[in-house]
Symmetry: C2
Subunit: 257 residues, 2 copies
């Protein structure tokens, strides 16, 4: 009656994480959080870090009083009933508007994914009503940097996912998704592996890093929990270096729309 | 340096689960799997069960040799280059075709969600090339029945999610989603809860049961692992009785399309 070792996954929200300020070194924050929990990084671990604290550490903070909306932003703000200064930032962060309507502004972000308001965030910023947070400039690079620094500090380079919370077509409710990935796969391609009866699986590419982000999101929540970093142990992910862009469908290959 | 107790989530794929046959009692199978792992159900636990074994236990097996395609199925099969008998079953299981193209047939399932091929599955059936598996007739009811039977067998009624693996618009890769829910929320509404700085969260409804399904999917895989049941401990879900249909956006309220 032995339990197979690789079928247990543990997710731990690191305790004692302080409010993050611009310039903070997240790798050191993570090492301190691991210390608080009495944990050490092991080979094969992964860390999921909310984009919010990555953005804050990178100083992606904008004061709306300093934003001058374009005429397009004013027009879109009128149609969506949003603050034209926020719309201006949403448009600057986007390739194109995907959908807009009263109280709705969905864009294709400059990074390639589709989300509400280009991921611009007014909650949990803590720097006043007129201050908003933009997503990191290059979340894959942020993930890579944090991974490398953790390697220097601990001797172990974990997989790193920078997570965001997105709405989606067809289904209600936000889920965790990966917007930055380092040292682990974004997609896991199971095609060609036999199923239980030797039949070849036809379509089986897992949105792996998104499911990792969703697992962490069950612990981080979105409100006042203050648990922005989750350690995942037991994933057994294949040794691949994915990038978040692997997860983005180009519109011309989107079979679901 | 204490670790807060409610910030750890453990997912365990139950060992020793046999191949499921029509008529098998999944609650008993689950109890045996827990025994194999040396585990007992605790209040607040959740079980994620793949739709595949629920379908098999419920005998949702169809022999294609007995399926007579309609003229519409023949036409759609020509356009999608699929087996007209499978297309016939896909159409019978759907409300409408959402998208079709060569090798692509996306439908709104009769249950309400949008997925490829109405969730009809030819892999891991193990009953011959011409045998396919349809989704359970009423997965919310299946989840409710398994939950109630587990209560009778163990004295604990866990949350239950019946999971499937879906592709999606905008993003690559399949993720785990909930198609049946009992004894736990499908959506968790965080609106009105203050964020860290007392600001009210504006849009925060979590696709909770989908993230639970995705967590389990990281362990179950889709190929030859034979790990169709995952115990989740430490979720701390609110006491709500969700239904999978809570997760399905009606097209007229779909802000993302």
């Amino acid at each position: 009656m032995s339990v197979v070792a690789d079928v247990q996954l543990t997710a731990i929200a690191l305790p004692g994480i302080p409010l993050i300020e611009p310039g903070d070194d997240l790798a050191s924050v993570i090492v301190n959080g691991l210390d608080h929990a009495g944990l050490r990084l092991l080979a094969g671990d992964a860390l999921v870090i909310t984009s919010k604290i990555v953005s804050k550490s990178e100083g992606r903070i904008f004061n709306l009083q300093e934003v001058q909306p374009s005429s397009q932003a004013v027009e879109v703000a009128r149609e969506t009933r949003k603050d034209p200064r926020i719309v201006e930032l949403v448009l600057r962060e986007s390739r194109m508007i995907s959908r807009h309507a009263p109280n709705v502004l969905v864009t294709q972000h400059r990074l390639g994914f589709v989300s509400a308001n280009s991921g611009i965030d007014q909650s949990n910023v803590g720097l006043g009503e007129d201050v908003v947070l933009l997503l990191p400039v290059d979340p894959d690079e942020s993930a890579h940097r944090i991974r490398t620094q953790l390697g220097h500090l601990t001797g172990v380079e974990p997989g790193v996912v920078i997570s965001d919370s997105h709405g989606r077509p067809f289904r209600m409710g936000n889920i965790g998704v990966a917007i930055g990935v380092a040292g682990m796969p974004a997609l896991v391609d199971l095609r060609g592996r036999p199923d239980l009866f030797g039949r070849e699986l036809k379509i089986s590419i897992q949105g792996y890093a998104d499911m990792v982000a969703s697992t962490a999101n069950l612990l981080t929540g979105e409100a006042d929990e203050g648990r922005p970093i989750v350690l995942l142990r037991g994933l057994n992910y294949p040794a691949q270096n994915g990038r978040a862009v692997d997860l983005y469908r180009s519109p011309e290959h989107d079979l679901y729309r």
